[in-house]
Amino acid sequence: MSSGLIAPLLGLLYQIGQRGDSASTTGGALARLAWLVNKQDAFKDKTPYIAKNTSTARGSWVDVVNISGSGYLTSVAAGASDTDPVGIRFRIVIDGVEKFISENEVAEGMIFERAYIPDHPMFSDSGLRLPALNMRFKTSLQVQRYATCESSISDICVIAVYQLD
């Protein structure tokens, strides 16, 4: 597709490399371009990943996912299989900066979907809808959850959907 454009560019850079005194830098640029040509199709296939955390832990922050890298946080959602009301809060830290923390359960209810998430969300028939966040992270991403519940037993499931560059 774009190899028609990139091939002349490779030739141009090669010529610059012949004249310049920094052959290794130009060689690096050539290698980078060659790598991009080989990998260009991969850019269309950024696979979304789903991090899932199911546990009964409550009363403290628990990591759902903690990434050193770059990409997009696509969505988060939470659910609990319990007859008692379960409050779930989220904390999103991007590039070391706390970007969002739900202060109370009402805020959580307004922004995030609360629904029962089965073991395999892709087969869910519970009407779960994931909110679109599309938050960019350049160096790191951390998603945490905090659960509260009156009863001692509550299996709480939280997922974070993300893409990596």
Binding site: W35, D63, V64, G69, S152
Partner: protein, 131 residues
């Protein structure tokens, strides 16, 4: 690969980037950037419930609750655990990582007994109470 940070065991995965590169000084080549993804695997501590798995109505069944590390080795810390069965919860103090309680039921059936404590993985035991 698993890694312990604080009181949590993380599953660590390295994902090769599809579109981001870094320059490797050693080989003087561009290589795909590697993302490091950590997800919660388990807590560093867990509770385990030991005892017979069957009894009869109104016959006390002694159960032992132990605090273990995530690999199953005993720990001698003291902490407060919550023991629950069918919506009834009692508090049990573990001394040196061990606590005992009697389970008794006036009705027959299968009971799932769960032991929980803060920042610990829970322990489970199913007990059948016969007529």
């Amino acid at each position: 690969m698993l890694e312990q940070i604080g009181d949590v065991i993380y599953k660590v995965e390295e994902v090769e980037s599809a579109g981001r590169v870094v320059f490797d000084e050693a080989t003087e080549e561009f290589k795909p950037f590697v993302h490091t993804v950590r997800t919660h695997h388990c807590f560093a501590r867990k509770l385990a419930i030991k005892g017979n798995t069957s009894t009869t109505i109104n016959t006390p069944l002694t159960l032992t609750v132990r605090l273990l590390d995530w690999e199953g080795n005993p720990l001698d810390e003291s902490l407060e655990a919550r023991i629950a069965a069918r919506g009834n919860t009692v508090t049990l103090q573990l001394e040196n990582g061990v606590g005992e309680l009697d389970f008794v039921s006036p009705i027959a059936g299968t009971f799932k007994i769960e032991a929980q404590a803060d920042r610990c993985d829970e322990g489970l035991l199913e007990v059948v109470v016969n007529e």
